[in-house]
Amino acid sequence: MGIQFKDVSFAYKGLKVNYDAIRHINLKIKDKGEFIAIVGQTGSGKSTLVQHMNALLLPSSGNVVVFGQNLPPKKKEKINYLRQKVGLVFQFPEYQLFEETILKDIMFGPKNFKSTEAEAMVMAKKAASIVGIDESLYEQSPFRISGGQMRRVAIAGILAMEPEILVLDEPTRGLDPKGRNDLMGIFRELHEKENKTIILISHDMDLVSEYAKRVIVLKDGNLVFDGTKEALFEHKEFDSFHLDLPTPLKILRHLEKEIGIPYQPKYDFDSLLSYLKEVAHE
C-alpha cells in the first residue's frame, strides 16, 4: 500500500510553453511509520509533488499509485475517496475556515466522506483535542480566535477525516517560536502514538533536522536526494542542492573555519555542548 511514484512528470500548461514542474520522479512511501521532509528551493516542485499524493493533480506522464489506486485513473473511476486516505494541509490553512462554528468546520471533512452527523462530531472532537482546541471553543466562530488557533482548527479539520497519511505544506510558516514548537509536538505525537506516516514540506532545516527521519530533496523538478538527514548533510554535492545547513552544523563549520575545531556532525544542543567541552577546554 502507501504511495508509489513511477517515472512521474507533470507540466503546467502555459500560454505558449508548458512549464515542467516535476520530472521523472521515482519514489516509494510506506503507509506507516515514515516521517519524511521534502525540501528544495522555492520553485523546485515540492508543492506539485505533494498534490499528486491525494490526486489533486494527475501526472502528465508516468503513474502514481496511491493505496492501490492507479493515477491517472481510467475513465469513470472515482478518486475523491483518496483525499480522505491522504490528508493534505496547505500553507496558511486557516484560510480554508468558513463554517459558523469551530466544531462544524472541523466536521466538514468527515461529513464529505459519508460520515453521519453523529460520527463526524465524534471524529471532530477527537481531532480538536489532539490539536489542543478546548471544548469551550466548539461553538465559537472560527473567525474570532487568534491566528495560531485558527491554524490548529484548520489542521484539526484534516485530522478529523482520519487520514492514513498526513501531508503538510510548511505547517509552521508564520508562527512564532512557541507556536512552531507546539505544532510540531502534535505531529511528533501523532507519529509516535499511531505510527502515522507524516510528510512535511519545509524550508526550516532546523525543523527538518530535529523531526525528520528521511529527507527528499528536489531541485528544478528533479529528485536529487532521498535518504537520511545525516547522509544528506554529509553529501558531497550538498552545495548544489541550494539548502541551508541546520544551525548546529553551521556553527560547527564556522568554528572550524575560525579557530580550527575539527568538524564533527552534532545535531542538538547537548551533544554540541559536550563536544565543545571535550575538544576546546581551557
Binding site: 528551493q41 512564532d176 532546523d206 556553527i251 575560525e258 579557530i259 555542548l273 577546554h281 581551557e282
Partner: protein, 267 residues
C-alpha cells in the same frame, strides 16, 4: 527622534492592548520591538503612524506631537511596511506602486521618474519596473514596498513583521536590505518581530509582554535575561543559548566564545 510617554490603548473598553508604555528611540538607530503574538507590538506600530489614536498618553515624532492637527506633517517623517506583501501593493505594476506615495505628495513628474529609478535600483528591483504583482515573489513584493517607503524620503521606517510571511530566501533579502539602509542611509529603523535571530542584529531591543515593556537594552544585555524572555514566549536562538551556556561554563576556551559572537553578528 521618537518619544512615547505613558501610552495606553485598548480596542474595546475592556482589555488594554498597551499599558503605560514609555520609550525613546534615538535618531539613526535600528531598534527591534520584540514580543509574542498578542503582546501589543503591532498596536504600537499602528499608533506610531497615526492609524490608531491613543486612549491615553502621547507620542512625539521628531519633536512634533502626533495628533490630528499634525498627522499630515508626521506622515512625511515616518513610514511603514506591513506584513502581507499582497495587501499593501497598490499599483498595477512595480513602477506604479513605488509612484503611489509620490503621487499622493504631488511630486512633479520628472522628479518622480528619478526617484523611482533611484530607489528601485537601491532595493534591486530596477529590472522589474513593468512587472505586475502576481508575477513577483513575496520577497520581491516586500522590496517594492520598501522602495516605495524609501521614495517618500521619510526619516523613520517601521517594518511590521515584514518577513513573517516570506520564505527563508525572501527573509534574507530583506534582512540584507535593512542592514544596507541602516548603515548607508542613516535612517531610523524600527523592526517589529518575534524572530530573535533577526533582532540580534539590531542596535537596541525593546521587549513587550502583554502590552507592557518588560525589558530594554542592547541585544547582549537582553539575551542575558533568558528566563524573562522565556516567560514572554520568546525563544532564544540556538546560537545565543549556546553562547550564554558557554559563557557560564568556564571550562571552555574563551576563543570559542569570541568565534560564536562573530557568528551571531555575521548573520
Amino acid at each position: 527622534m521618537i518619544k512615547v510617554s505613558d501610552l495606553s490603548f485598548s480596542y474595546n473598553s475592556v482589555d488594554e492592548a498597551l499599558k503605560h508604555v514609555n520609550l525613546e528611540i534615538s535618531k539613526g538607530s535600528w531598534v527591534s520591538v520584540l514580543g509574542h503574538n498578542g503582546s501589543g507590538k503591532s498596536t504600537l506600530s499602528k499608533l506610531l503612524v497615526g492609524l490608531l489614536s491613543p486612549s491615553s498618553g502621547e507620542i512625539y515624532i521628531d519633536g512634533m506631537k502626533l495628533d490630528e492637527e499634525h498627522i499630515v506633517e508626521i506622515r512625511k517623517k515616518i513610514g511603514i511596511v506591513f506584513q502581507n506583501p499582497d495587501n499593501q501593493f497598490v499599483g498595477v505594476t512595480v513602477r506604479h506602486d513605488i509612484a503611489f506615495g509620490l503621487e499622493n505628495q504631488c511630486i512633479p513628474h520628472d522628479q518622480m521618474v528619478d526617484k523611482i529609478n533611484h530607489y528601485s535600483t537601491l532595493v534591486g528591483m530596477e529590472e522589474f519596473l513593468n512587472k505586475e504583482p502576481h508575477q513577483l515573489s513575496g520577497g520581491q513584493k516586500q522590496r517594492v514596498a520598501i522602495a516605495g517607503a524609501l521614495a517618500m524620503e521619510q526619516d523613520i521606517m517601521i517594518l511590521d513583521e515584514a518577513t513573517s510571511m516570506l520564505d527563508p530566501e525572501g527573509t534574507q533579502e530583506i534582512i540584507n536590505l535593512i542592514k544596507v539602509l541602516n548603515k548607508n542611509l542613516d535612517k531610523t529603523i524600527i523592526t517589529i518581530t518575534h524572530d530573535l535571530s533577526f533582532a540580534a542584529q539590531s542596535d537596541y531591543l525593546i521587549v513587550l509582554k502583554d502590552g507592557e515593556v518588560i525589558l530594554t537594552g542592547t541585544p547582549k544585555e537582553v539575551f542575558n535575561q533568558e528566563e524573562l524572555l522565556k516567560s514572554s514566549n520568546l525563544e532564544l536562538p540556538f546560537e545565543i543559548s549556546l553562547y550564554n551556556e558557554i559563557a557560564k561554563d568556564k571550562t571552555i576556551d574563551s576563543k570559542v566564545l569570541e568565534a560564536l559572537w562573530a557568528y551571531n553578528s555575521k548573520m
